[in-house]
Symmetry: D2
Subunit: 134 residues, 4 copies
C-alpha cells in the first residue's frame, strides 16, 4: 500500500535502526498528516465551528510536525540521531495534544474520533522509534 518499505529495501545506505520500526513511524506520520489536515477542514465545516477553534489549531500544528517527521525519517543518508530524537519528541507532543483534543469531540464527530486514532498510532510509533535510539 505504501511505498516506503520498497524504498528502504532498495536504498543504497543500510541504516542501523530497525526497518520495521522506522517504517511504521513514517507511515503513521504521513497518515496522521492526512487525518489532521482533513479533520481541520471537517471541523471548519461544522455548525459549531466557534467551539472547535482549539481543535483546528491542534490539528494544523500536528499536521505540520508530522510532515517534518515523515520527511526526515524517510532519509537514510547519514541520519543525525540528535535531530531525529528531538523531532520525535516534538511529534509525540503534537500528537498527544491533538489526540486529546479530538478525543473529547470523538463521540459526536466521527472525523475527530478517526483523527484521535491516527494521533495515538503516530505517538506510539514515534515512542517506539525513540526507545531504540542509543
Amino acid at each position: 500500500m505504501t511505498y516506503i518499505k520498497q524504498m528502504f529495501a532498495s536504498h543504497p545506505v543500510n541504516p542501523s535502526s530497525d526497518h520495521a520500526v522506522v517504517i511504521e513511524c513514517i507511515t503513521a506520520s504521513y497518515s496522521c498528516l492526512e487525518a489532521c489536515n482533513a479533520c481541520a477542514d471537517a471541523c471548519l465545516g461544522e455548525k459549531n465551528v466557534a467551539e472547535l477553534v482549539d481543535c483546528i489549531r491542534a490539528c494544523t500544528d500536528c499536521a505540520d510536525v508530522c510532515l517534518a517527521t515523515a520527511r526526515i525519517m524517510s532519509r537514510f543518508t547519514r541520519t543525525d540521531f540528535k535531530l531525529a530524537g528531538a523531532q520525535l519528541r516534538a511529534c509525540i507532543q503534537a500528537c498527544e495534544i491533538c489526540g486529546a483534543d479530538c478525543a473529547k469531540h470523538g463521540e459526536h464527530m466521527e472525523h475527530c474520533r478517526v483523527c484521535a486514532e491516527a494521533c495515538r498510532r503516530c505517538a506510539a510509533a514515534c515512542q517506539a522509534l525513540l526507545a531504540e535510539k542509543p
Copy 2:
C-alpha cells in the same frame, strides 16, 4: 489503510464530486510525496550521484507539488474548482517529468522503478479527477 475515506464519510459538507475518484487522487498524491522524498535521498546515497542530479531535482519538485495537491484536495469546505483544476494540471506535469526521469534509471535502481510507478499512479489519479470537473 488510509484515513481519508473515513474522514470524507464524516465530513459535514457533502461535495458534489465522486468520492472514490478524489480519494484515490489524495491517496496517490500522499503516496507519491512519500516515494519522491525517499527516492531523492536514495539517489543522493548512490555512488554515481553526480549523474542523478536531474532525477533528484525532479523528485524534490514532484514531492512539493504532490503535497500541495493532497492537502488542497482533502479540503471539502467550498472547493474552488478553478484552483483545483490548475493544481491538478501542475501535479500531472510534475509526475510526468519525475516519472519519466525515474523510469530511465528504473532498470538499475529499484527505488527509481518504484518512484516511477508512484508517479504514474498519481498522474492517472489527477487526470481522472480533472476529467470529472465541469
Copy 3:
C-alpha cells in the same frame, strides 16, 4: 533581508531567466505563505469565525500552493519550464481567490487587508515570471 538573492549570486548553475524577476517571485511566494498562514489563524480567532470559513479555506489553500511555488522556483538545477509554468498558473489562481476573499473583509479586519496585499503582490510576481517564459 532575504537570502535568495545571495544564494542565486553564488549558485553554480547560471539560469537563463532574469534573476530579479524570479527573486521577486520567490520572495513574494514565501511572504504570501507567511501572510496566509497567519491570516488563517487570525480569522480563526475572530468572534464571527463561522462567517470566515471560506476565507480560512482560501488562505490555507493559498499557503500550500505558495510554498510549492517558492521551493520549486528556488531550484536552478535544470528547471523544467513546463512544470514552472503550470505551477505559476496554479499559484496565480490561488492568490486571486484568496486575495479577493480577504479584500472583502479588509475594511473590518486589518489582517485580511494585509493578506490581500500579499496575495496581489504574489499574483503579480508570478504573472511577471510567466510572461518571460518562452
Copy 4:
C-alpha cells in the same frame, strides 16, 4: 518587509509572549527555510556533489523543521507551550547541524556561507524564544 509584524498587530488574540522575540523567530525560520532549500539545490549543482551529500541532507532536514517552526509559531489561537518548546528544541538542533556542516564549506562556497549565517540566526532566535517560556 515581512508581513508577520502587521499580522500580529491585528490578530484578535493577544498572546502573552513578547511580540518582537516571536516575530524574529518566525522571520528567521522562514528565512532559514529559504536559504536551506536554495543551498541544497546549489550543492546539487556543484561538480563535487558527491562530497556534499551530508550537507544536502542537513539542508533538507533543516528546511523541513524550519517550515514547521515558522507555521506553528505564527499561530496565536491558544498556543500550547509544551509543543512550542519541543518544536523550538528540534529547530535549534537542525540549525546547529546544518550551520556546522555549511560553515565547513563556507570558505569555498558562498551559498554555504550564507546558509550557515541563516542557520545561526535561526538557532539564536529559537533560543531567545525558548528562554522566555515559563
